[in-house]
């Protein structure tokens, strides 16, 4: 089974299970339910809130079904690993909503009044367990294809950056969202206006808290160089740096804004090294197009090869400021060699600038 098929099968199966758990109990015990039905329960399990039967069924089962549909759509459309976290989140939400929906239906079964309904404490634990299980399954399904799915560009067609003796190079690129910065600025202005009205302070603070991430992540800058890759948000923080030694492969991938998060600029993910023949320090990297391909090629030439590097005379004279050049040249010379057997785990870097909006990390 191909990675994409497995991904669709897992997410589709989880979505179907969530839909069944959310909807079937309501349908099967519909005639045995009181009207209204208990929909809210105290910590002890006693009912303390109710809704008309039809509204309760539509709202509770509907939420579970919406979660299941969202999971199915996300799993079918997900074409890149950076959506793994989002898919796991949606899977977990769908599972917990479905279990609680079914549990509410069963808790009201056969009681004369909604006051008599009682929700067992173990149901809540079951909901949490279902949420965790679904999230883990979705996460594993999304991640398992990382090492076998990637660039379809044949190795010979991959762009390479030619670096001579003594050459050193750095690539930097910035992706700016068209909507995040305006939304953040508007949220800030709205928060100030609300602050001076009679509205509670938490309303203004909530609006402000919504806008701040837009301002912080409305722009991202990626820099790749002799020390590795560094990704920083617009203000310079938060940022993440990946040392060169931990980079096994760099490649350009196409990510659509329709994937969760509105598009991905760069992702730093873990993956087992060596599952792809070309992965590993000192080996060529996959790459597909344009600027990102140039970026990938840059880092390919810098993949370090284990063992001492031979510095150029100029590099040796100018150490330590220029000592990193030897590492760069070592990687350049090593291009095409086999991955080392000792590389058990490595970092998998996937930069993208074209549609970049949001940074996703899957540690």
């Amino acid at each position: 089974m191909s990675p994409a098929s497995r991904r669709r099968a897992v997410t589709g199966g989880l979505a179907a299970a969530a839909a069944l758990v959310a909807g079937v109990p309501w349908i099967s015990v519909w005639g045995e339910l009181p009207d209204p039905v208990a929909t809210h329960f105290a910590l002890g399990g006693d009912a303390d809130g109710h809704l008309p039967r039809l509204v309760a069924a539509a709202s509770t089962a509907g939420l579970g079904l919406v979660g299941a549909v969202a999971l199915a759509v996300l799993g079918a459309r997900a074409r890149a690993r950076p959506v793994a976290g989002a898919t796991a989140l949606v899977a977990g939400l769908a599972a917990v909503l479905a279990v609680l929906s079914g549990a509410v239906a069963l808790a009201n079964r056969g009681v004369g009044s909604w006051h008599d309904a009682r929700l067992a404490g173990w149901v809540v634990l079951l909901a949490w367990a279902a949420m965790a299980g679904a999230a883990v399954m979705a996460l594993r399904a999304m991640r398992s294809d990382a090492a076998t799915e990637g660039s379809t560009t044949p190795p010979g067609a991959r762009p390479r950056l030619k670096l001579g003796e003594g050459d050193r190079a750095a690539w930097t690129g910035t992706a700016t969202s068209r909507w995040a910065l305006p939304v953040g600025a508007a949220s800030g202005a709205l928060a100030v206006l609300v602050w001076f009205t009679s509205a509670p302070a938490w309303v203004a603070l909530t609006i402000l808290a919504t806008g701040l991430p837009c301002l912080a992540f409305g722009s991202l800058r990626v820099t790749a160089g002799v020390r590795g890759v560094r990704v920083a948000a617009g203000p310079g923080w938060p940022r993440v740096s990946v040392p060169l030694e931990r980079i096994a492969v760099a490649e350009a991938i196409d990510l659509q804004p329709s994937t969760w998060g509105g598009g991905v600029t760069a992702a730093v993910e873990r993956s087992p090294a060596g599952r792809r023949g070309c992965c590993g320090p000192g080996t060529p990297c996959a790459s597909s197009s344009s600027t990102a391909a140039q970026n990938a090629g840059l880092r390919r030439t810098r993949c370090p090869r284990p063992g001492p590097a031979r510095p150029t005379p100029r590099t040796a004279q100018n150490a330590p400021d220029r000592a990193s050049g030897s590492q760069l040249q070592a990687g350049h010379r090593a291009a095409g060699s086999a991955p080392p057997a000792g590389a058990a785990r490595s970092r998998h870097i996937r930069p993208r600038r074209k549609l970049g909006r949001v940074l996703t990390f899957a540690p």
Binding site: G166, R168, R221, V226, R230, R322, S324, G325
Partner: protein, 116 residues
Amino acid sequence: MLVKVDACSTEPIFRQVAAQVRAAVATGEVEPGDRLPPARELAGALGVNMHTVLRAYALLRDEGLVEMRRRRGVIVQGGAPARARLLGLATDLTAEARRQGMDLVATYRLLEEAWS
């Protein structure tokens, strides 16, 4: 923006960095209003001294291509692409003239002839 320098070249590194940025501006890879990477960051990526990059940025500022503001970084100025292209052509002309053994006066005369 790709910045590539040759540590073995006789040309100073700050001039190489400036030339790379100038070329990026001329080709439109970096547009007016764009912010250049902080000197510390670019220097770290290239493995050179931060002051080398700062000197390159200062050169570009003197050429009217970028604007350096405290806490706002280095921003490409409006009209910089056209000026960068012109500077690039002038640099190429100068280099070729030197390669052919021409001095400044001879090059200037050549320009006068081309201008007329």
